[in-house]
């Protein structure tokens, strides 16, 4: 009912986010139906056309207040349950970066492109063989990728729905994050934070390749650090 709207997930942690959404959906859904059901039932049951006079019930005694306080305590219990489920997942995705990533890439947002620096064959950034592209992010599948997210001018937000990845890019900061893909293919990249008149055109592609294809792609690039570009600006 709810989860089927989500696009397919290709990251190793994406299903955990989906799981959190499902858990909240089930808990909240039951509460929601109960509350709306009772509300609707009261409206019909105690409608004036039934002809019974209203009772005087100011809810001042602790006993009658329990009808409110116990459900509220249950809400708290379920809330804590949600927190217990979601807290560690947040930690895993946003706080615990892999210590030995297979690759580190740099993604820099500016009006209105994603400037992506791949490490090149030597696997390291800021060397002569870096590969710079615009809006086209190419990575090998099944590898732990750490990204350094930056912004040139205004705040952007790196948004790759299939990875369940979203992170704002803030000028003046380098924000590190990570992901690992499970499936090859081409997936959309967008900007999720209003960044000016071209915000709605800022998009790119994530190309996830198996290792052989990735090596082939690497070989086709013009391996040069500064100034070397490929793809369309």
């Amino acid at each position: 009912m709810m989860l089927h709207w989500l696009p397919i997930n290709i990251s190793t942690y994406g299903h955990k986010i989906d799981h959190v959404i499902l858990v909240i959906y089930l808990i909240v859904g039951i509460w929601f139906l109960l509350a709306e059901g009772i509300l609707g039932y009261f409206i019909i049951r105690y409608h004036r056309s039934k002809g019974q006079p209203a009772i005087f019930q100011p809810g001042t005694s602790l006993r009658s207040l329990m009808w409110v306080l116990i459900p509220a305590a249950l809400v708290l219990a379920f809330d804590i349950g949600i927190e217990v489920v979601q807290g560690p997942i947040w930690e895993e995705i946003k706080m615990n970066l892999p210590e030995k990533p297979d690759q580190t890439i740099r993604i820099r947002g500016r009006q209105f492109v994603w400037e992506i620096t791949h490490p090149g064959p030597d696997g390291r950034l800021d060397t002569a063989d870096d590969i710079k592209t615009f809006n086209q992010l190419t990575i090998p599948v099944h590898q732990k990728i750490v990204f350094e997210l930056q912004a040139e001018d205004v705040i952007h937000s790196l948004w790759i729905p299939n990875l369940r990845l979203k992170q704002d890019a803030v000028p003046g900061r380098t924000i590190r994050g990570w992901f690992e893909t499970m499936q090859t293919g081409t997936y959309p990249i967008a900007c999720a934070e209003l960044c000016g008149s071209g915000h709605g055109t800022m998009q790119g592609q994530l190309h996830v390749m198996d290792f052989a294809d990735y090596q082939k792609w690497l070989a086709e690039q013009t391996p040069s650090g500064e100034g070397a570009t490929s793809g369309t600006p």
């Binding site: 209203a54 005087f56 369940r164």
Partner: protein, 547 residues
């Protein structure tokens, strides 16, 4: 003389009406802007009738101004200033506000801010387009947004609006503390009075840092300072903290008066005392304190230290408890009642039912892990419209239909009122339910042409459904406007107390004259003595009736 009486009046009733009417007019401006971008989203390549082609800049400006207007120039003036100014003195049995001249000044400051805001549509470069949150560096650098004067005017207008609301808040708090009728103890005050005061307090202590932030932002725009610009050592995230330190409490500044309005309406039309009056007040007070501690849940993925997510998740969880108490109390108030579905009651129940949707969907966004996916998608848009629309419009209409006879001495047409209520509630859901789905698909906010994104194209029909829902919603309001105006002349004459309500405002003539009450009321009981055991004839006792 007419100028003195109706324009530059110091009478709280006139000031309240001025706020209410300005708010309603601005609602149509905000609605028109919504029509422009909703049409654009549904049919991106067609010109919008009554507007023309929408480019990205017009799109961004209309979205920005829609948000700004609906929150600051519709919800605030209607809920807080409109209802507050008119009703607060009446409900506590006072002849007027504590500072009538300050009250008049408050409205005219607000009016000036309205003119400033509207003039920003006319300046070269157009109105502000950096979103209603105005995040720098985009909003701090005219060079990056292409909006020069529109942005300056936006900041000035918002700052002035805050000043006017502060004046109003000072008046509410002072009036409530000093001008209550004899016998009107704090816990005999109607819930609406409590809520208006809590809202004023929350506003007063949350808005200061943002006013400071607005000065800093304006300086960045005008004097090349760099408070929020990293190249000068500033931090763009600081503004987000200032904004949401105010922005989250602001939601409650709107919610509290709305809860107050529907408490008055629901008790009257269920003929029941409010279930758990004191617990509701305590819960609201606790929630208002907690509201200062949850702001960063708007910023989980903003780039702030991810370790902050846990404490703000926890405070967000805690704040849901007092609101659960509140919502359950409202539902319990209906229990054992004698419910009459008059127009105000339909709107009040609609507010409760729809706000529940907004409340529960907030839990998805309040959970940091789920928010990674849902943040800045249409899911968020749907969520906050399910909170703010019921709060502003459903509660607002409940209040207008309810107190209209008091304001104008005539009742609004009941049949057309019901048609208006049902159409509004249904078309509201048609507009915003599809947005939950489209958000789950991954549709990011504030893009002017979804058809440019391959992965969004299959879901374009959801935008079309939403837009048709909105068009019906917008057109339904014509019924309200006609009913509102026609009833001024042709509505059935209202008695002083057409709904058999127990609070003080229903003792005064309809409409109340200058000074409100013919003789100062003396209060002997609480505000909701409906269906007291042992009553014969009428089933209620006014607050002034002896025990």
């Amino acid at each position: 003389m007419a100028l003195r009486k109706y324009i530059f009046s110091v009478d709280h009733k006139i000031v309240g009406m001025q706020y209410l009417c300005t708010g309603l007019v601005m609602a149509f401006v905000g609605g028109y802007l919504a029509y422009v971008f909703r049409h654009q989203l549904a049919w991106p390549n067609e010109p919008v009738p009554l507007f023309g082609m929408v480019g990205p800049d017009q799109y961004n400006a209309s979205v920005t101004m829609h948000g700004t207007i609906m929150v600051f120039w519709v919800a605030m003036p209607i809920l807080l200033s409109g209802f507050g100014n008119y009703l607060l003195p009446l409900m506590i049995g006072a002849p007027d506000m504590a500072f009538p001249r300050l009250n008049m000044m408050s409205f005219w400051t607000f009016f000036l801010s309205t003119l400033l805001l509207m003039s920003s549509f006319l300046v070269p470069g157009g109105a502000a387009s950096g979103g209603w949150t105005s995040y720098p560096p985009l909003a701090a650098s005219p060079g990056l947004s292409g909006v020069e004067w529109g942005g300056h005017l936006w900041i000035l207008a918002v700052a002035l609006e805050f000043a006017s609301m502060l004046m109003g808040g000072i008046n509410f708090l002072t009036t409530t503390l000093t001008m209550r009728a004899p016998g009107m103890t704090l816990f005999r005050m109607p819930i609406l009075v409590w809520m208006l005061n809590i809202a004023s307090l929350v506003f007063m202590f949350s808005v200061g840092p943002l006013i400071a932030g607005a000065f800093m932002l304006l300086a960045d725009r005008l004097f090349q300072t760099g408070f929020f610009l990293p190249q000068s050592g500033g931090d763009p995230l600081l503004f987000q903290h200032l904004f949401w330190f105010f922005g989250h409490p602001e939601v409650y500044v709107l919610l509290f008066p709305a809860l107050g309005i529907i408490a008055e309406v629901m008790t009257v039309f269920a003929r029941k005392p409010f279930f758990g009056y004191r617990p509701l007040i305590y819960a609201s007070l606790i929630a208002s304190v907690l509201s200062f501690l949850v702001w960063a849940h708007h910023q989980f993925i903003s780039g702030m230290d991810p370790r902050l997510a846990a404490p703000f998740s926890i405070t967000t969880i805690i704040i849901s408890v007092p609101f659960a108490v509140a919502i359950f109390s409202y539902i319990a108030t209906l229990w054992g009642g004698s419910i009459e579905l008059k127009t105000p009651m339909i709107f009040a129940l609609g507010m409760l039912a729809e706000f529940l949707v907004g409340g529960v969907t907030g839990i998805f966004n309040g959970s940091a892990a789920a928010d990674i996916y849902l943040h800045d998608t249409y899911f968020v848009v749907a969520h906050f419209h399910y909170t703010l629309f019921p709060v502003t419009f459903l509660a607002g209409f409940a209040g207008i239909y309810f107190w209209y006879p008091k304001w104008f001495g005539r009742l609004m047409n009941e049949t057309w009122g019901k048609i208006h209520a049902v159409l509004t509630i249904i078309s509201f859901n048609v507009t915003f339910l599809p947005l939950f789905a489209i958000g789950l698909v991954g549709h990011q906010r504030r893009i002017f042409d979804p058809s440019l994104f391959d992965y969004l194209q299959p879901f374009q029909h959801l935008h079309v459904i939403s837009t048709w829902g909105f068009i019906i919603l917008f057109l339904s309001q014509i019924i309200f406007v006609v009913n509102f105006i026609a009833s001024l002349c042709y509505g059935p004459i209202a008695t002083r107390n057409p709904w058999s309500a127990a609070t003080l405002e229903w003792l005064a003539p309809s409409p109340p004259g200058h000074g409100n009450f013919e003789e100062p009321p003396v209060v002997h009981r609480g505000p909701y003595d409906y269906s007291l055991p042992g009553l014969t004839g009428k089933d209620w006792k006014n607050q002034t009736e002896a025990v």
